[in-house]
Amino acid sequence: MKTLKLILSLMMLTFLAVFPVQAKDMIVKEPPKSLSKFYPPESKEPKWIQQMHKMSAHFGGVFVNLKEKDFENVDKHADKLVEEYKKTSEMVPEWEEYFDIKAAEEFAAAAKTHDIGKAGKASGKLGKTCGKCHGDQEISVWTKFHWPSFHKIKVTDPIDEKEVEFGKYMKSISSSMKGVTVNFGEGQYDRAGKALKVFKTRYMELKSTCSKCHTTDDVKLFYVGKDADTAFSGLANELNAEKPNPGNFWKNVGLLGKTGCKNCHLVHRTYSFIKEAWEEEDKK
């Protein structure tokens, strides 16, 4: 059973590779509201994904069994694929056009000839219907259902203890960072030292936001973990030294900017950007 599952998932992967997404001019549009019924919290389980797995398993099942010459199961999977494909086509009315029931039926008929060449040929047309929708919709669906919104997160600024929106908080982090670097550049080391305390306190406050989306602490090894700690102590050491070394200072600023700010932005900001655009549109 386990090996069967493995084969099926491998099939699934090769399948997705065979029907690549053509996405030179990609448009990321908010998915239709009717899809929400198939995702938590409206549904207990992510039913849309489960439906995808079903189709994919039957699609793959046809070929696995053709190779093994288990024709009884070829027929079963072919029929099931048509059945699940039809069912999927009725789930989201706005997406009905993506489906080509005739292509599914033709593929099933070809599979039932038990000729692997014919089945392979007929699969192309059906597979394209899958690929087309994935190309158009997958990123949108990920953004909508797998990415929470940073705009709805509020952060209590640890310095003045006022609550602000995440984006605004980012701006104050950014300006406290400048407080450190500008003062350092001017040779005002004591002021830079005080600004560093504020900056560090604000930066470390970000650690409290991770648990609003993540349920394991392991993620805190990144951006706000050891590397950030090391960079902050490096900066503090320089500022406490009799004669601060600019080379070391800027090296640590760079480290923080890259492993902290930049890497976190690369992972999280793209989606945040798209969501913000949708939210703006919804408001109009």
């Binding site: 470390m204 650690k207 991770c210 993540h214 602490d217 805190k220």
Partner: protein, 325 residues
């Protein structure tokens, strides 16, 4: 009015009979419940109790426990304002498991679809395999029960308090979560008239799931003020998990320090945020030391500790000390 002696005798007779049958029933129900035939038990059963009813149904008999639970944070795990905010109006899928659990069995639960407003309620914690699981081997006429030793173990709470459980395990302290957060007192499991007379008194765990208090005996403070330095240390001496401790909540201790000169003017200040989400909590048995370099002449430091629970932004004062040079 005069009661004829024969009637008095009859009344006394009935009285004795009633008392002795009550004694008999009491004895059977509490000690020898295996004597009761299955068929008789079936008559007393209320099948609706096995349909995962709301907590209010259980309160028909377990009134005291229900009132305590109503007072607990568990009853608010779905309706809590701070939770709704943090979970983006309850849409985050990852968050459902522990806030609206189907059934607790010593590992991370799965979420449920029905009666979400009840949060973590009686059925989530007690209903497994069509029986009420609990700490006792007893007979409850209205519903089947089974003794399950897990109810006295920290692992049970660790199903959801995953991080706190891990911290507790590492301390090797024997007291369980229940020992401190559900202290037991002698009482009755049920308050429904009749039932309460038939069932003996037992130890009942406090279903308010008490928060626990932080006193100066639990967190030991030491400090030293010199010309150039102020050093402060905090030691969590008695609480066998981080203080504060959390899974996805964000409880905090705020430590405020103010420095004054000879004239009594504030010359500088500092602040520490002691919070599990920032990995700055006070671990069990390990002294945490905070150092402050003093730039001005300081003759007095004032230290204030405040606590902010996970479910509110309001702080409560714990203590305040003044340190002289």
């Amino acid at each position: 009015m005069k009661i004829p002696p024969r009637l008095t005798n009859l009344l006394i007779g009935f009285g004795c009979l009633a008392i002795s049958s009550w004694v008999m029933l009491y004895f059977i129900i509490n000690e020898k419940f295996e004597w009761i035939p299955k068929e008789v038990l079936e008559l007393a059963r209320d099948p609706e109790l096995l349909e995962r009813p709301e907590a209010k149904r259980c309160s028909e008999c377990h009134e005291a426990i229900y009132e305590a639970w109503k007072d607990s944070r568990h009853s608010l795990s779905w309706t809590s304002k701070t939770y709704i905010e943090a979970s983006e109006n309850r849409t985050k899928e990852k968050c459902l498991a522990c806030h609206i659990p189907q059934s607790v069995r010593g590992e991370k639960p799965t979420p449920r679809l029905d009666r979400r407003e009840e949060g973590i309620y009686c059925v989530s914690c007690h209903f497994i395999d069509n029986k009420m699981n609990g700490p006792y081997d007893l007979m409850a006429p209205p519903h089947p029960t089974v003794r399950n030793p897990d109810y006295g173990r920290s692992k049970f709470c660790g199903s959801c308090h995953e991080k706190t459980f891990k911290q507790w395990q590492a301390t090797k302290v024997e007291d369980t979560c229940q020992d401190c957060h559900m202290p037991r007192t002698k009482g009755r499991l049920t308050q429904k008239f009749g039932l309460n007379l038939l069932h003996k008194k037992r130890m009942v765990g406090d279903h308010r799931f008490l928060h626990g208090e932080i006193t100066e005996k639990d967190i030991i403070v030491e400090s030293e003020l010199t010309e150039k330095m102020f050093t402060l240390s905090l030691l969590n001496k008695t609480i066998p998990h981080g203080v504060p401790t959390a899974d996805n909540g964000d409880p905090r201790l705020y430590l405020y320090i103010k420095f004054f000169n000879e004239a009594g003017d504030e010359v500088d200040n500092a602040k520490e945020i002691i919070a599990p989400q920032q990995e700055t909590e006070l671990p069990y048995g390990k002294k945490m030391v905070y150092n402050y370099r003093l730039f001005d002449k300081v003759s007095r430091a004032e230290v204030e500790l405040k606590y902010q629970p996970a479910w509110t932004k309001e702080k409560t004062d714990l203590w305040k000390v003044s340190v002289l040079r």
